[in-house]
């Protein structure tokens, strides 16, 4: 886009556009199949292919199976460390969450824009998507917490050894910090992805505009920007993995609160 106009529009990549089914209206809502939905499907297919290729249960794992076992072992270790033996029940949920976020982050980084007409879309760069993921996590925490402990769950908001005078104040503070959890969980992933992609588009705009402005500008603007962009791309790949890990880690910590009540 920046090649012709010379203007950088870093927000255009987050536009949700219908791919097909413009006229699928159900009760006043347009249910068109958007590019966001398309990339979620691509993520799921990649996830399925990755898992089905590795679920062979061979005694001596091959390379693929070792990769899949590396991921599952990583998550089940994390759950065992943070929750204990009862964390085993939540491994399927946290593993799906981790892999979905990781693969959709990485899919957004894929250079499919090299093929004309195609654009990579980062599913996790929308607050609606990350918000729903965070709400699912929070709902599981609430259901498990109230299901196991009943109204005793509220003792989570009063740390051990609190002086009686401080209880009302601390209860309010802890309740606020509990209620803000799904918001912070969703916001972190959404902003990290959005900011990274904006940064990369701005740098890409520098490269293209510099080259369009002539050889001298190409040498002093485009070349350093391009080198910087390679570094930023590697950094963004790291951020993709870290954000998926942090989401899964915080979910497991919140589940630990619900299961073990401190």
């Amino acid at each position: 886009m920046a090649a012709e106009s010379g203007k950088i529009d870093p927000m255009h990549q987050f536009m949700i556009e219908p791919v097909f089914g413009h006229q699928w209206n159900v009760a006043g809502f347009n249910l068109a199949f958007t590019n966001s939905a398309l990339w979620m499907v691509i993520t799921l297919v990649a996830f399925w292919v990755f898992m089905l290729g590795g679920l062979k249960r061979e005694l001596v794992p091959g390379r693929w199976q070792a990769a899949v076992e590396g991921f599952t072992g990583f998550i089940s270790n994390m759950m065992a460390q943070n929750i204990g033996p009862e964390g085993k029940k939540f491994v399927p949920y946290v593993f799906s969450l981790f892999m979905f976020i990781l693969i959709s982050n990485l899919m957004g980084m894929m250079p499919v824009g090299l093929i004309p007409g195609l654009h990579a879309f980062t599913v996790t760069s929308h607050f609606t998507v990350t918000g729903v993921l965070a709400i699912i996590s929070f709902a599981i925490v609430l259901i498990v917490g109230f299901g196991r402990h009943g109204f005793h769950f509220f003792s989570l908001f009063v740390p051990h050894g609190t002086p009686v005078v401080m209880i009302p104040l601390l209860f309010v503070v802890e309740l606020m910090s509990f209620l803000v959890r799904p918001f912070s969980l969703a916001l972190r992933l959404f902003v990290a992805m959005t900011a990274g992609h904006i940064l990369m588009k701005v740098l890409a705009g520098f490269v293209i505009n510099g080259m369009n402005a002539g050889a001298v500008y190409g040498a002093i603007v485009s070349l350093p920007s391009f080198v910087l962009m390679i570094g930023i791309t590697v950094l963004e790949l790291l951020v993709c993995a870290i954000q998926a890990y942090v989401f899964a880690l915080l979910t497991s910590l919140y589940l630990n609160d619900a299961v073990n009540l401190h």
Binding site: M11, M78, Q81, N82, S184, L187, R188, V191, A192, A195, I242, Y245, V246, L249, L250, L253
Partner: protein, 75 residues
């Protein structure tokens, strides 16, 4: 000063918060590295806490980015 200019100045000021978050994140990893070099055998077990600290420091910086975006596109 018209409102449009004030918006841009506000968004620019909000970006300062990202630099402060960079200090925080750097501090988290620097302290971890310093103590991991003193006691390398205990370092691996603390990696979860490292990333919790990183996530907390980062979130507060990302809020600055959200403020900038709200000023530019919503307000």
């Amino acid at each position: 000063m018209d409102a449009e200019a004030a918006k841009f100045i506000g968004a620019g000021l909000a970006a300062v918060g990202l630099g402060l978050a960079a200090l925080g994140v750097g501090n988290v990893f620097a302290q971890f590295l310093a103590s991991a070099l003193r006691n390398p055998s205990a370092a691996d077990s603390q990696q979860g806490r490292l990333f919790i600290g990183f996530a907390a420091a980062e979130l507060l910086g990302l809020l600055a980015f959200v403020v900038a975006m709200i000023l530019l596109f919503v307000a």
